[in-house]
């Protein structure tokens, strides 16, 4: 759970907690049909949602379309959000990632993407300089956790999550059998989960 961020004793950790709680509270109000709460929730999370979608889709116009779908889905399904099972922002980003991947797979451009882009961009995910303190903290957290993975685990997870590649595409990109990819993805994600204190 995200609230474990506070145990890291990092500057901004309490602000992070406050931010997360606020989104959850907003989501509860969205579930009651409050338009103003939706507007506020949107302001809070839209840059993150669009950032993630753009990371996968690259194309600005397509990304905005997908973001629109995601926020309509949030509106429709806020009534089903269960805070017992995860943070609001996780729920929202899970939705955004899934829809972005759906779009990657559905569009011809997705199939035609230069598979090498995924490889070339790998380092970007860890070495980007970013101005936001909040994002930099997450960034650092992910980077530190990623270091604990094997190279194969790290590459497979990055290609799948940041590149939107399916397990079979990852297998072909890394020249390993699909079964191996699935195992590495699971082992790697479990290791990340433990390293980042999600449980």
């Amino acid at each position: 759970m995200l609230r474990l961020v506070t145990t890291d004793n990092e500057p901004g950790a309490s602000a992070q907690l406050e931010f997360v709680v606020t989104v959850e509270t907003l989501l509860e109000r969205v579930a009651l049909g409050e338009h103003a709460a939706f507007a506020e929730m949107y302001d809070r999370v839209a840059p993150r949602v669009l950032g993630l979608i753009r990371r996968l889709l690259i194309d600005a116009a397509q990304s905005e379309e997908v973001a629109q779908e995601v926020f309509l889905e949030i509106w429709r399904t806020a009534t089903r959000f269960d805070a017992q099972r995860g943070a609001a922002l996780s729920w929202i980003l899970t939705m955004a990632h899934r829809r972005a991947v759906d779009r990657v797979r559905a569009s011809q451009s997705g199939h035609d993407r230069d598979m090498k882009i995924g490889i070339r961009d790998l380092d970007r995910d860890f070495d980007q300089v970013t101005e936001s303190v909040e994002i930099r903290i997450e960034h650092e957290r992910v980077k530190r956790a990623m270091i604990q993975l094997t190279a194969l685990q790290r590459e497979a997870i990055s290609l799948a999550y940041y590149g939107g590649y399916s397990h079979s595409e990852v297998a072909s990109l890394l020249s390993v059998p699909i079964g191996t990819v699935k195992t590495r993805l699971r082992d790697g994600m479990i290791r990340l989960r433990d390293a980042m204190g999600v449980a």
Partner: protein
Amino acid sequence: MTEHNDPRVDSGAFSLDALSVEEAQSFRSAAAMNVDLQRESDELLQTAAILGMAVDPVDPPAQLKTTLMALIMLTPQLPATPEGRSVALDAAAEPVALPLQSATVTRKVQSRWFVRPTVYLVGAAAAVALFVGGGFAGAVITGTSTTVDMQARGVAQISAAPDATMERTAAAGGGSATLMWSKSLGQSAVLVSGLPALASGSVYEAWYINGTTVVSAGVLEGRDSSASWFMLKGLMRDGATIGVTIEPTGGSDQPTTAPIIAMATA
């Protein structure tokens, strides 16, 4: 997946959206019947979300919010699940059809716009189930939703039709239009979003086009053209293309300018 395989092996790939649609469905079914697997799945999904939080944010264009605030007024929310909202973190696991999900094909305006553009079938028409919960763009900005007018009722009626269909297209010159129509009712409505403001003396006018027959479907006026629903006037005949042009105030009998929007309803 066959039942001989341990579904657990797929939990990592599932959390990263790296499974095929069929595999993901098998995994969800397996997780729904296994508390431990469901917990692992929830945890890995949260872990994946943290990867998402490390991505640099991108500021959305203002128009996206304006459009969404107009759309949520027409979009019903799902009832909470009877058994106390115990739905997985990935609530989307439940197939939830969105009004625009299958309707985001963006088409260029045809150069000969009155000729019916290539037909795009918009699937899952039944997925469109909307109602009007409040007023329109004027009210959106202030966050109140008290104005329900005739236009709103018309839009609600279309959206309630079993064959209601929605499709979005880019407008030449900026902005976009989402068209909603029902063949059985012979009616349509358009949500314009981010259209440029017109100089005084000009208005947007909608048209129904069947072959070479072009009939006015009304002037889009009286509301903020940056994001509003407009009910189109008159009967939409089978196979009609709907167009929007810029005309002198008061409208024209026949279009006098090139269309900024042209959409086929066939």
